[in-house]
């Protein structure tokens, strides 16, 4: 049964990337809460990971839940040292996510390591990296949400590109770390998949996050020209319906990278538009 988002504000969340990077996190927290949202998903660059207590308090005092913490360092790297550093960095991220009370730590796993072409080897490095953070994630009680990214980002951001692939990795990882790994479904990355609904069904018990935005025609830049929900061609309601039919009760988080449009507008306009579209389009 599709939830009525107009009656479930606590489930509506804003990924802070949606508001660009010019404003402080403090300002964002305040405005997101005032605009009526129930959740926030901050980025690591916005948080002082050496002392996340003040931010944690601010978010809590604003009445917001943390629907996700963005995001892992890439697990691929040209040598063992760089991959080890990435693991260490990710452990700090997981500890911070735990302090923030984040519902999950988002894993964007990385593309081909610089100078390499061997996809199989790079994917192996990613899986090894994920195994390396399983114990700490399990101990901290922070599930890792593997986010399959659109294949347009395969070379430089993520060699995890389909829900099918994410299901397989989660199956393998959860054999060692039960209940620790799940999947973040971002409509922007998966809307095109011929097996979308079949795989949403297969993934139903491990979906940890649901991100919305829209795919514009034309898309001027695949990274920085995401659209506001309703301005593109993604069947948002149909996808959410499938998720919720399968039992998903988590947040609906807006994540829009839009350097030339939404990031240039006043925060309040963006937030009000997000709220309106969530209620009427998603």
């Amino acid at each position: 049964m599709l939830r009525n988002l107009s009656e479930n504000y606590e489930n509506l969340s804003i990924n802070t990337a949606t508001l660009g990077y010019e404003h402080s996190l403090i300002n964002k927290i305040d405005q997101i809460a005032r605009a009526g949202f129930g959740g926030i998903a901050p980025w690591r660059s916005e948080v002082d990971e050496k002392n996340p207590i003040p931010v944690t308090k601010l978010i809590k005092d604003a009445g917001l839940s943390v629907t996700g913490y963005c995001r892992s360092a890439y697990f691929t790297g040209p040598d063992k040292d760089s991959r080890k550093k990435s693991i260490e960095n990710n452990i700090i991220g997981i500890r911070t996510a735990s302090l923030l009370g984040a519902e999950c730590f988002i894993a964007v796993v990385g593309g081909l390591a610089k100078g390499t072409r061997n996809i199989e080897e790079n994917r192996k490095q990613i899986l090894e990296g994920l195994f390396s953070i399983g114990k700490i994630a399990s101990e901290e009680g922070v599930p890792i949400a593997l986010e399959p990214l659109h294949p347009v980002y395969a070379s430089d951001r993520s060699l995890l590109n389909t829900i099918d692939q994410a299901i397989k990795w989660c199956d393998e990882l959860n054999q060692t770390f039960p209940g620790t790994f799940g999947i973040a479904i971002d409509v922007y990355h998966v809307w095109w998949d011929p097996k979308l609904y079949e795989n949403l069904m297969r993934a139903k018990s491990i979906i940890l996050a649901f991100h919305v935005s829209d795919w514009l025609i034309p898309t001027k830049d695949p990274l920085m020209d995401r659209g506001m929900m309703g301005d593109g061609i993604i069947e948002l309601k149909k996808i959410r319906n499938a998720l919720e039919d399968n039992g998903y009760t988590g947040s609906v988080e807006v994540e829009i990278f839009s350097s030339n449009n939404w990031w240039k507008r006043p925060i309040l306009e963006t937030l009000d538009t997000c709220m309106d579209r969530l209620k009427n389009i998603c």
Copy 2:
């Protein structure tokens, strides 16, 4: 067994798009043959489809085979009339392909019809359209090569996005039109697929064409910034090896859309570079 391309020039083909659209087809035919290639894949816009005999003769006299004819009109459309016109257009394309002696007619199937979001309905239209051209393709003896396009083109160019999906459609179509439908594998579109090698194996009996280019990092424009083989990150030899291990003996066709780089260079430079890379990189 990987063929030695230095000894198999007859298998090396140039898709005329690689040379941009400023030169005449006559000029391209001449230079492609002089540069030592054995095949050519022309575009419909370059051929007078009301009278393709002179071009056919030119290509034949140059000693070139036609490794593919590019390409179908999109099968999706906002109404029945537009889809009917597209079928009629495609029938002309198939007849021309037959006269040219083309080894296949390339089907780029179309994205979402303008103003629509319903992927399932649009994909249904595509399959219906393909069924509508099966008879004529079968009669003319021109196999239709379904080309899965990279998901970055799903919204506006092709809702056929994986080899898996192409296999399913071919299975369905060939039940009615045995041996008429197959698949064009273009490395640019499929290199990222986690199931690439598994699906190349499954598709082995119906692979009609093999296109090469490279994926650049960064890619400035997903449509017009394809790279020359060796300049990007695609494992070209590994993919060709898989195809040939599975029994592929057809052409290796270079198809590079590169409006700001290769299209600006002299034809001969591009052709010589293609030849060199085919022999040493692919």
